[in-house]
Amino acid sequence: MKNKSSIAVIVLVLTGVGTTGSAQVLSENIEGFSVVGKGLVTAKPNLVEIDLEVSAASELTADAIVKYRDAKRRIHDAFTSLKLENIAIEERGLGVEQKGMQNNYYFGGMPPSSRAKTEVQLSRKLVLKCSNIRKMDEDKLLQQIGKFLDVAQDAGAKVGKQNENSRYYYYDYPQNLGLTRFVLDDFDSLQEAAYEKAINDARTRAQRLARLSGVTLGPIVAVREIVVPGDRSPNTNYYPWNQDDENLPKRLETAKFQEIPVRVELMVRFEIQSGPKGKERAEKR
């Protein structure tokens, strides 16, 4: 008997307290309207990028250095001889590795067993950047890209993204397998416009809800960014290859030469205006 009454007390306490607590939280959460506002502005890319790679390997490190140095110099010379002011070659980090000792993922990440001697491999990713392409007509741009690809291949560069088996192992399938990458990186003013559009869109949606609910819309009390253009957060713990792209400026990329959307999505919470109708409803509740 004593046990039964104790259980009843516990149940009552729990249900009572729980109900009161959740009601308080709920009343706070449902105060106002939370809506998602979207803003979209488009613009043509202003930059085209082509990934190149130079690598050289040899038993003697001195040989590998000669091969690597010559390969890089020839690529630079080839593009310099084009005498174009709007191109630049950006060099990424230099890798010094043991050739053929990449992880073998089908053997649980074990390197291949080998009696082979160490062969030093030097490799570096180069990014060819051609700027001011927004105002170019498509035909001229195509001609120029064609020339870049020809020059790069003739100079012996490996063009395009290089195959990285490890990405597949981590289920990170690269989205862009094209040879070129069109980039929009001067979108500050466009971003402002997109934010403005997103806020306006949110306000319109909230007003509709307020009208249908019979309340008056109050001021904005909270905003959360859902989609921000060009925002990338590489997780270098899980995707070590992203370390190369660390500290890159904000940018938007596409594999195709087309208008690139600058998209903003905001979660906006509006307060409900305290008016006569509002007070009545509160008292009834």
Partner: protein, 700 residues
């Protein structure tokens, strides 16, 4: 205390570890880690030499010499380790041991074996003359009649045209028998003449200098004329070509200029790939293009005004002037159906080869319709004018045990080719053996066959996912009566082109061709560039040697049996050509190595690399056919001077070939002929037929 115990415990392990590594690196015919073993001498023969060593240290000359002479005659041609990585016959080893004997050892030898040597010399008449003289030269050279036997043997070799051996015999007397009664001046003149004819020019110059310095006052009689040795030599060489001529390379590297400007128009083009693809539906075309055989480049040879090609066993002949097809052995159209069969998909297409003379053409091919995964490659001889089959090795019983591997060459009126016995492990036939065959060209008769070695590695039986390693194709070179074979698996050997006798082998460092990784789904490995094997190239009197799976480059002087230098190099490198100061290497990059400093001078990466294909290597430039056209490279700096796109785009690259009038671009889709324009005054370049024959056979 603990540290000391740990060090003591680890010490033996460290020592053993080092010993194992050293053992693996040691170049020895008996090292089980090496892929090929030359015919080894028996344990008894090796023990006999060990016994000699032991007894001679004690001064027991009778027993020491007896142990040497207990070696059976049959064992004298088997092989033991020599010096500096050379693997030599027991007979040569025995001769070098005897030549190095101290005076009391020599005296003992003469005491015990003079009678036997004299008997052999007395019986050296008629059919047994050569054999007896060779036995005395090999086994009894330090006896009192050894010098006479060597002199006579030299004369015999000289008459047989084996100048190399003749020179060795006379030089042996001059250098190793100072107490000889023979005229050293006369022997030196004879040796100089033989050296000159054998193309051993640096040794020739040395002897010529010695003739003036040492024997300047002597008079000798040769051919009924008496004069000083230097004058005699001058008189005998009067009818010979000059030294400069003798040393001149016969390859295309010395011919006139080449100018492939962008405005060169194509003269003609044979589009054999179009014939295969005609009528294919799009899915069939995709399937064909994904087949590795669709990238096969035909092997070609030229003779006169005709080009002969071997495209996956389909032979055809083209008129070089018009590009018109003269004959073909079969239609290309059904090739695709044959190529789709599993048994040929992983076939190494570079094994198809062809060589031509003015009357015949010999092609190396396998039957694509043969369902056997191990179907051997066979030789077919056709008439050059009609393509009619004269003989096929598949019809001749002598060739039954062999799979012919490696491009054949024509020299001294013989056809030389390398072959591998076909071991069938299910019938417990043991490991395959490497042979060199000499063939009578017009009827296929086997003139001689010589075993170069036995593979320690089994057959290539593990064909997972069509990822097959290329079979090592031995390369043959003919020079001054000697035949050199680089097996590509760690041994370069020298044979006598006339008799096939195996002189020696040089063992170089190499990995096994088929690694253990191949057993386990090797497809996920990082793509390692596969470079085709390359023949040794001549640099002066030395050969530059780099095996297919070797990470070392060697300069080997074959006549003196010396390694001039060696250098680590990428395993993926191959030899593409050489000039006076520079060696050009292919591989992922085209690169140049300074022969004096052995530094890498430059490296240029061309589209799709320089892993395979024949380049034009000339003093005025290097030319390579790539998927993006013909690239002309400055040999001094590696700079790409010009790109001639040509009409071969869409192909995977291929070979460039030079004739009197044409530059031929041989790709996996077409054979294109461009006019060859000479620069400067050197417009009309003509080759004599002998040079052309040599080049045709060598380049093939």
């Amino acid at each position: 205390m603990r540290l000391a115990i740990a060090a003591l415990l680890l010490f033996p392990a460290l020592v053993f570890g080092q010993a194992k590594e050293n053992q693996e690196d040691k170049i020895s015919n008996d090292n089980p880690g090496r892929p090929l073993q030359m015919p080894p001498a028996s344990t008894e023969a090796k023990e006999a030499m060990d016994d000699f060593d032991r007894f001679q240290r004690r001064g027991a000359w009778e027993r020491a010499l007896k142990s040497l002479y207990t070696i059976e005659e049959g064992q004298t041609l088997r092989f033991v380790d020599g010096e500096n990585g050379f693997i030599i016959p027991v007979a040569r080893k025995r001769r070098s041991i005897l030549s190095a004997l101290p005076p009391n050892g020599r005296a003992a030898c003469r005491l015990f074996y003079d009678a036997e040597a004299r008997r052999l010399l007395a019986e050296a008449e008629g059919p047994s003359e050569l054999k007896n003289l060779e036995t005395i030269y090999s086994a009894y050279f330090i006896t009192s009649v050894g010098d006479n036997a060597a002199d006579r043997l030299g004369d015999l070799y000289f008459e047989l045209g084996r100048f190399d051996r003749a020179a060795d015999c006379w030089l042996a007397v001059v250098r190793e028998s100072p107490d000889t009664d023979l005229s050293l001046a006369q022997l030196s003149v004879k040796a100089a003449l033989a050296l000159f004819r054998a193309g051993r020019l640096s040794e020739f110059q040395q002897i010529r200098t010695e003739l003036t310095d040492r024997y300047g006052d002597e008079k000798i009689t040769l051919g009924g004329q008496t004069a000083t040795p230097a004058e005699q030599l001058r008189r005998l060489l009067g009818t010979e070509p000059t030294v400069a001529d003798a040393g001149r390379p016969t390859s295309a590297s010395t011919e006139g200029g080449l100018n492939l400007t962008e405005s060169v128009d194509i003269l003609w083009q044979t589009r054999f790939a179009d014939s295969i693809e005609a009528g294919m539906t799009p899915p069939e075309l995709v399937q064909w293009e994904s087949n590795p055989l669709s990238t096969a480049v035909p092997a070609v040879a030229t003779h006169g005004t005709t080009l002969f090609a071997n495209y996956l066993g389909h032979n055809f002949a083209l008129d070089l002037k018009s590009g018109k097809m003269l004959w073909r052995s079969a239609s290309f159209h059904h090739l695709e159906m044959q190529a789709m069969q599993d048994q040929v998909r992983f076939m190494d297409a570079t094994r198809f080869a062809i060589v031509a003379s003015d009357t015949h053409v010999w092609s190396l091919a396998r039957d694509l319709k043969d369902a056997n995964y191990f179907a051997p490659f066979r030789l077919t001889c056709r008439r050059a004018d009609s393509g009619e089959v004269v003989w096929q090795s598949s019809d001749l019983i002598d060739y039954a045990p062999y799979d012919l591997v490696g491009p054949p060459i024509l020299a001294e009126g013989k056809l030389f080719i390398t072959a591998k016995t076909q071991a069938n492990p299910q019938q417990q036939q043991g490991q395959p053996q490497q042979f060199v065959l000499a063939i009578q060209p017009h009827d296929g008769k086997l003139l001689w066959k010589t075993e170069v070695g036995t593979f320690r590695q089994g057959g290539m039986m593990y064909f997972y996912y069509y990822n097959r390693d290329p079979v090592p194709q031995p390369r043959l070179i003919h020079r001054a009566g000697a035949l050199y074979v680089d097996t590509q698996v760690g041994v370069m050997a020298r044979l006598d082109a006339d008799t096939g006798s195996l002189d020696w082998g040089y063992g170089y460092r190499t990995d096994n061709v088929q690694g253990q990784n191949r057993f386990f789904f090797g497809y996920d490995q990082p793509p390692e560039p596969t470079t085709s094997g390359s023949a040794p190239v001549s640099s002066g009197e030395a050969f530059l040697v780099k095996g297919m799976q070797s990470d070392r480059l060697y300069a080997v002087e074959p006549n003196r049996m010396k390694v001039l230098w060696e250098r680590p190099i990428s395993k993926s490198s191959r030899l593409v050509g050489v000039n006076e100061h520079t060696l050009f290497l292919g591989g992922p990059e085209l690169s140049a190595l300074d022969l004096k400093s052995r530094d890498l001078l430059w490296a240029t990466r061309l589209p799709s690399g320089s892993l395979a294909g024949q380049l034009l290597v000339r003093p005025d430039g290097l030319w390579q056919l790539t998927p993006r056209g013909v690239f002309e490279i400055d040999p001094g700096s590696g700079t790409v001077r010009r790109i001639f796109r040509g009409k071969d785009l869409g192909a995977v690259g291929g070979n460039l070939f030079l004739t009197d009038q044409l530059v031929l671009a041989i790709s996996n889709r077409t054979i294109s002929a461009y006019p060859r324009r000479a620069t400067g005054a050197d417009v009309s370049v003509r080759e004599d037929s002998s040079t052309r024959d040599k080049r045709t056979s060598n380049e093939e």
